[in-house]
């Protein structure tokens, strides 16, 4: 079957599912809605697998246009690009979406907004697919905003709660801050390259690198890449724009799994990978990416150590892992970044869904201090959670090891300006990841149950547990794709890497199969660090030293608990300053200045002039005669003086 038709099927079925479910939200019964959306996403997944296989046979990228959207030949069209990157992403997105659909059947069973939830799920999948399959910046932006919209709707899904809609709004606005940069990047592209179509833009990337930008020292290409990366930071929650992700946990857990772990947040990563031809041309951008990635990886991991809500911990872990993917991008190891995205999608979704099953068992309790000793009560969830955690910390042999190790190695090989500090941050991150994973595992599954709910926690119906098992198996298997992804050139055609930056090529030389990689792994500092921190973690949390040490590191803990003061900063500076400026403009600017002075002012002046002039009409005959005479004299004076 022709690849283009397959691509249309993928988008079409998901689109149809979401539209029908959306419109029929009041009409459809939950069962009907489930069937509808599930079949939609199912077909989409199958179609994308077939597409992947079909593409693998003759891997040459095809771009085709559905219809023209904008004026002129600016490349503003609804067009799809089929190449290795988009195919891989399509498979990942549809698979994760399918699993979350199944999981949600159980999780959302007694929720009144069931049908609406499923409509949003498939709408999200549609937006994500558009984003992934776009062949021009415009459709990328449309998908980008669509994904932001659905995350806004889903975070604020339980709209009757006070905090959920605010969290949703915060997420949308922070995303919009990112989109502000993204839009400016597109504007710059249009101004300099003259079109938004990937192929034309990529062809001109060298020319753009030479062109000066309005800022001295920055080439046009660097400016564009920086602006586009701001958009990526907004979407993938990199440090300054990360504040919305922890709050997005207000949404239902399946959403946290799918959107805020596996798919949406990776959109930023995907974008930088997709635009690798551009980013390769700008060292400045790559260095910035390294910096941001490194800072995010470490700082967010640290926050995981002090968070007490199970979903918050996993959210910070997601932020930290995103930092790693960004680091990979900075090191021009785009394939490694996508591979880590691929593996992370599975084990992070697994962790979230397992957490969801724990939350369900704990009757929606999410505080890990009330949990404990659940391993015996919920064996399957515990086992799958263990697999996920091991993958997360990068235990050799597990998926995380292959993807995260390769990123750390890529950093080692990269000779960019900030490569060394980034490498150090990455290593520190490994230690921190191990610590908070162990802490989480211990508080939740080991020790004695610290609350009545924890006592009677039971695993419930299979639809919740089944996806866990499935995901666990996938997590175990995912790691083995390392060779295909990194060195086999699976994503070769989509990713352009300049020789100078090609860290993966350097790593390829001493690659000797999976076994060799594991053995080699043990020789790397990362694995040593991992072992050490696990032992340290055991003492800290299993043996309870953490509580003893807590007092004398209280200063440090306070900073972490305050989340480095970002929330306080946003609340005081951004929101309050914005409102102050708004009030200033409204009160002083509009009411007082324009309305008060200029408009009503002139009206009052006219009325006062009228009142005074009215007095002239005194009613006395003599005054009238005098006025006439003065008029006459004035006329005479004028005429005679004029001469």
């Amino acid at each position: 079957m022709d690849l283009q038709v397959l691509a249309l099927i993928v988008v079409g079925t998901v689109g149809a599912g979401s539209v029908v479910a959306g419109l029929g939200v009041r009409v459809l019964s939950p069962k009907a809605a489930t069937q509808l959306t599930l079949t939609g996403v199912g077909i989409a997944f199958l179609a994308s697998v077939v597409l992947a296989v079909g593409y693998a046979q003759n891997p040459e990228p095809q771009a085709f246009t559905l219809y023209r959207w904008g004026p002129g030949d600016f490349g503003m069209k609804i067009g799809f690009l089929i190449d290795s990157l988009s195919v891989v992403m399509m498979v990942v997105v549809t698979l994760i979406s399918l699993l979350v659909h199944v999981y949600s059947i159980g999780y959302m069973r007694e929720d009144p907004g069931y049908v609406r939830f499923f409509a949003y799920l498939s709408l999200f999948t549609l937006a994500m697919l558009l984003l992934v399959m776009a062949d021009n910046f415009l459709l990328l932006f449309i998908g980008w905003e669509g994904v932001g919209l659905v995350s806004y709707l889903l975070i604020g899904f339980w709209y009757t709660r006070a905090r959920a809609p605010s969290a949703g709004l915060k997420a949308f606005l922070v995303n919009r801050l990112g989109d502000f940069g993204f839009l400016l990047g597109m504007g710059a592209l249009l101004a300099v390259a003259g079109s938004l179509d990937y192929s034309t833009v990529f062809a001109q990337s060298e020319a753009l690198a030479q062109q000066p930008s309005p800022f001295s020292g920055l080439s046009a290409l660097s400016l564009i890449c920086l602006l586009l990366f701001v958009g990526a930071m907004g979407k993938s929650a990199q440090v300054p724009l990360h504040v919305w992700l922890p709050d997005s946990m207000e949404g239902p857990t399946p959403i946290s799994a799918m959107i805020h772990a596996a798919t949406m947040v990776t959109a930023g990563i995907f974008m930088v990978a997709r635009l690798s031809p551009l980013f390769e041309g700008s060292e400045v951008a790559l260095n910035l990416i390294l910096l941001v990635g490194g800072v995010t990886a470490l700082s967010m991991g640290l926050l995981g150590l002090v968070a007490n809500d199970i979903k918050q911990v996993i959210a910070y872990s997601t932020l930290s892992q995103l930092g790693y993917m960004t680091l990979a991008l900075g090191a021009s190891a785009y394939a490694a970044s996508i591979f880590h995205l691929f593996t992370h999608a599975f084990f992070k979704a697994l962790l979230f869904l397992a957490a969801g099953s724990v939350i369900l068992a704990m009757h929606h309790g999410q505080d890990i201090r009330h949990m404990g000793g659940l391993a015996r009560r919920m064996p399957i969830t515990a086992a799958t959670f263990a697999v996920g955690s091991l993958a997360l910390i990068g235990m050799p042999g597990f998926a995380g090891f292959f993807s995260k190790e390769s990123i750390i190695e890529a950093l080692a090989h990269s000779d960019l300006l900030l490569a060394k500090p980034a490498h150090f941050l990455a290593l520190a991150g490994v230690a921190v990841t191990a610590l908070y994973s162990l802490r989480l595992w211990w508080y939740v599954f080991q020790g004695t149950p610290r609350s009545t709910e924890a006592e009677q926690a039971r695993e419930r119906d299979p639809t919740v547990v089944l996806p866990l098992v499935l995901l666990a198996m996938l997590t175990l298997v995912a790691g083995f794709g390392v060779e295909a992804f990194l060195y086999g050139g699976l994503l070769g055609d989509a990713l352009v890497v300049h020789a100078a930056h090609d860290t993966l090529a350097r790593m390829a030389e001493n690659w000797n199969g999976l076994g060799g990689a594991i053995l080699h792994g043990f020789a790397t500092p990362a694995v040593w660090l991992l072992g050490l921190s696990l032992v340290g973690g055991y003492f800290l949390y299993a043996k309870g030293y953490a509580d003893k040490l807590a007092p004398n590191v209280s200063q440090l803990r306070l900073i972490l608990i305050q989340k480095y003061g970002f929330d306080v900063f946003y609340e005081n500076w951004v929101v309050r300053a914005g409102r102050a400026v708004a009030n200033g403009c409204a009160r002083i600017g509009d009411q007082h200045m324009i309305d008060g002075l200029m408009v009503n002012g002139t009206a009052r002046m006219a009325r006062r002039a009228a009142a005074t002039l009215r007095q002239v009409q005194s009613g006395v005959l003599g005054h009238y005669a005098l006025a006439m005479l003065l008029g006459l004299i004035a006329a005479l004076g004028y005429l005679f003086l004029r001469g």
Binding site: A606, R607, A609, A610, A611, L613, R614, Q617, G619, L621, H623, Y624, A625, A627, M628, L630, G631, L632, A635, L636, Y638, L639, F640
Partner: protein, 475 residues
């Protein structure tokens, strides 16, 4: 031209005078029908004896030209209209059992007829004085509290003073040029070079005439007279004499003193701006509808002087059209006031409140009148303003046009206030306008003709151009 032929051409004036005498002597119940007969007869006479081309009568004292006949007919029609409006009013001639009002009205028409055809300073002065002398007693017509008397005295003294100025100006002109005939005056001025006596004479004449139309700073009498005199008198005063005043200005300045145009145009422009400024501004502060209409009259006079100030034939014809439209608007507004006043003496603007709820049809008529006064499209007032603006801009005085137009915006407020009182406010006590259906019909016709003129303006514009052509270049 034998005497008989001249008599025929003078037939309208003769019919008028004879009619006036009959009305004076006839018993009361006959007064109204006789007046109507006299005025109808005059119109018939005008139409019957219309000459093809303008002919000089009375050895050059009087000129009968068919172009101006339209305005003479208009004067008659307006007089009929106004007298009909005044019938229902408590202080109307019928109630006062006096037919002097009617005789004075007809004599006023005689004065206006004389002015319209005057080709000689004496006839001009004669016509002006007949009009003035018939207005003084009409205003002083007895009213309860003596306000009319006081106002009449003021009007009389200032009017006499003004005609004194005019006469003195004429005498200086006579002394300087040696002739009283306007045609010869124009040719004499062509040869004479500028001298002080001429300028003095021109200024005095201008002052005298500016008083008649109520241009600032000679406007002081107007608000008091509009406010003090009885409503029928004011209605008469507000409409027809304005046309006569314009014809006077055209005859004297455009026809006679065209050679001194440079001087009197600047003076007229000063008068115009002052009138617009004062008229529009002070009207805002008024609470009594009559005083508001008085200041609006001053503002409209400002616009007429603006048109004349352009000094071009285009300006003259726009002044004629403006006065023609203004006369209709003034007659309509006062007619409406008479209608509203026939039972309850409503003098304040607040009395218009809630008119839309009690009488939607009348409210629409007042709306048309007010928007026409403000110069908003869909009414003839807009063309009047547009025509004057065209003349002024054509004469290259576009800054003046901007000033005038900005002042109309200030002016639009108090017209808008009437509409807002009618439509947006609730009436504390409902206004009960008169039930006299003929009166309602006439006022509505008066208002709707403004919309008709908007729809089909071409014939009226041609009329005003023909009238202006009569006065150009002293032929």
């Amino acid at each position: 031209m034998s005497v008989a032929q001249e008599m025929i051409l003078m037939l309208p004036e003769i019919v008028l005078v004879v009619g006036a005498c009959f009305v004076l002597l006839c018993p009361r119940f006959l007064a109204w029908p006789l007046t109507m007969l006299a005025l109808a007869g005059t119109v018939g006479a005008i139409v019957a004896t219309a000459p093809e081309d303008p002919t000089m009568l009375m050895t050059g004292m009087f000129e009968r030209s068919s172009e101006i006949d339209f305005l003479r007919i208009l004067v008659c029609v307006l007089t009929v209209l106004i007298l009909r409006y005044a019938r229902g009013h408590p202080v109307s001639p019928d109630r006062l059992q006096s037919n002097e009002f009617y005789t004075l009205a007809i004599f006023g028409c005689v004065g206006m007829f004389l002015i319209s055809g005057a080709e000689h300073l004496i006839t001009l002065y004669l016509g002006l004085e007949i009009l003035a002398l018939s207005l003084y007693p009409m205003i002083a017509m007895v009213r309860d509290d003596g306000r009319a008397g006081e106002v009449a005295l003021k009007y009389f003294v200032l009017g006499a003073l003004a005609s004194g100025f005019l006469l003195y100006g004429m005498s200086l002109m006579y002394a300087a040029t040696g002739t009283l005939h306007i045609g010869e005056l124009a040719s004499q001025l062509g040869q004479l070079e500028m001298n002080r006596v001429l300028l003095l004479g021109m200024v005095f004449m201008l002052a005298g005439l500016a008083f008649k139309l109520g241009a600032t700073p000679f406007h002081m009498w107007l608000p008091d007279v509009y406010d003090g005199a009885s409503l029928p008198a004011v209605t008469y005063l507000s409409a027809a004499p304005k046309i006569a005043g314009l014809l006077l200005l055209l005859r004297l300045f455009s026809d006679g003193l065209m050679a001194l145009a440079v001087d009197w145009t600047t003076l007229m422009m000063v008068l115009a701006v002052l009138s617009l400024l004062l008229g529009n501004l002070v009207a805002i502060a008024q609470t009594r509808i009559r005083r508001m209409l008085a200041y609006s009259a001053i503002a409209h006079t400002g616009f007429v002087f603006l048109a004349l100030g352009a000094g071009t034939p285009h300006g003259m014809s726009s002044a004629v059209f403006y006065t023609f439209v203004y006369a209709l608007m003034a007659a309509g507004s006062f007619g409406m006031l008479l209608l509203l006043n026939s039972r309850v003496a409503s003098e304040d603007i607040e009395d218009f409140k809630g008119l839309n709820h009690s009488h939607p049809w009348l409210a629409i008529m007042v709306l048309i009148l007010m928007f026409s006064m403000a110069g908003v499209p869909l009414t003839a007032g807009f063309y009047a303003k547009l025509y004057v603006l065209q003349a002024v801009v054509d004469a290259g005085l576009w800054p003046l046009a901007v000033v005038a137009v900005l002042l109309t915006v200030v002016g639009a407020y108090y017209y808008l206030r009437i509409v807002w009182y009618m439509y947006f406010e609730e009436a504390d006590r409902p206004a009960e306008p008169g039930e006299d259906s003929a009166h309602v019909f006439l006022v509505s016709a008066n208002a709707l003709i403004l919309v008709f003129i908007f729809a089909v303006p071409q014939p009226w514009l041609e009329m005003s151009r023909d009238v202006a052509r009569v006065f150009v270049g002293g032929q």
